[in-house]
Symmetry: C2
């Protein structure tokens, strides 16, 4: 079986470090390809460029929207070391620049005995018992055709005009076609949830991401991934959103942080 996400994140080397890819429809938020989906495509290209299978730390600057379009990803390997290799990548659709990114990739993750965690996965109803992501007045994002996001009951208020007042969104996620969530899947999932600020004052529409950092923290076990997104500081039209993603064992498998802009009122 070929999974949809694998089709939608294929990159094909076309020489000189460049890759051709197709930004598929069906992974969008209101007609713009989702930031996590684009992060997965550019991560796939940087892994291919460096010859390492894991995107360990990826920095992604979003420079223009795109959807349902062919793109070219120009990569250059900046350093190829023993533990990690690092590549720079620029994604263009025609002559429009979509993304500029740097990825530090590895073949295996580091190891070490010491452990410390100030928090674990949130208390959640099971995946089966959680509510499918509710539609908002703006409709259901196209992304939800491919991703099954199920929210914590406390965090669904934004969709019916009753934001919880906490800039917090927790839930489960999985691919609808049963594709296992690997490192590339985590890159998608770290931006697949409704913005946490929707629970602060309602869903104001499209919130453009300026920059997103993705850290792979462990290889996920089989099963859905549990995630928590929070915005702790919003002022002057900008806010950050921090994401934590745990696998079905409760192991922290990824972290994300993004800086985003409030929509102009």
């Amino acid at each position: 079986m070929v999974f949809e996400f694998d089709k939608a994140t294929q990159v094909r080397a076309i020489g000189d470090g460049a890759f051709a890819a197709r930004v598929h429809d069906g992974w969008d938020i209101a007609g713009n390809a989702n930031g996590g989906y684009l992060l997965a495509i550019v991560s796939a290209a940087m892994c291919a460029a460096t010859g390492r299978s894991l995107p360990v730390a990826v920095s992604c600057h979003y420079l223009g929207p795109v959807n349902d379009a062919d793109v070219v990803i120009e990569t250059s390997v900046v350093k190829s070391g023993k533990i990690f290799a690092t590549a720079h990548a620029t994604v263009r659709a025609g002559d429009r620049v979509i993304i500029d990114a740097i990825g530090t990739c590895g073949e295996v993750l580091p190891s070490g005995e010491q452990r410390h965690a100030t928090r674990g996965a949130p208390q959640m109803p099971s995946f089966a018992e959680s509510a499918p992501r509710p539609s908002t007045s703006a409709g259901m994002p196209g992304l939800m055709r491919n991703v099954d996001v199920r929210l914590h009951p406390h965090d669904t208020g934004f969709a019916r005009g009753e934001p919880s007042g906490d800039a917090l969104v927790r839930g489960w996620c999985a691919f609808r076609d049963g594709r296992p969530i690997d490192a590339l899947g985590l890159a998608l999932m770290c931006d697949a949830f409704p913005p946490a600020i929707f629970n602060l004052s309602g869903a104001p529409g499209w919130v453009p991401t300026v920059q997103l950092s993705f850290y792979l923290r462990a290889i996920p076990a089989a099963g859905p991934v549990c995630a928590e997104f929070a915005t702790n500081q919003l002022h002057d039209g900008m806010f950050e959103e921090d994401g934590l993603l745990w696998d079905s064992r409760g192991v922290l498998v990824a972290q994300s942080r993004q800086l985003a802009l409030m929509p102009r009122q």
Copy 2:
């Protein structure tokens, strides 16, 4: 008066988007130039390349150590938009690559009325009443010749072999020569404190940063900056450290996040 930090972060255009700079001694941790200092230099180059004065969101991947050396910073402007302009930069010392970075720069920060903060600056003794950063058995970092870091009394235990058990470091910072802390100064300060993990299990030595994100959240008012650094998730030899920096009015002026490696035991 010419301040030391301005001398140490000068970049000189040498054509084709390249800049020459000198990584000065005296901004190092045990003989390696501090990550925040290098972030400031590369941010200065990206601001010069884009013609915008503020580094709003900078992603920095650290690829090799350097100190007391001439470097060349190759930049290319990826997009020049109305609100922001984005540049890619690679820093090399001879043929060794030191840093690969992307900076989204602006002339002014966005604006907006809505405010939300889950936390403010920590309760701290005043700058004058706070303890100067204590020396460790490994000695005082060279950086402290230029930066006056004063820690919260609770957070100094690591230096005498009595880590607090909380992966937390809070304190004040200022330039010793009285230079005001501007956006570039914040880039330095976001990595100028002892790692928060030192208070978990002692100071294990050099902790290499893989990637660091810096967000400028407001223009700082005059006076020292108050900062808090915390590590919330450490496992498999990697940890993140999140930094929050407030100005003397209590306004959040910068955020940082880094992924770092535990030293091999």
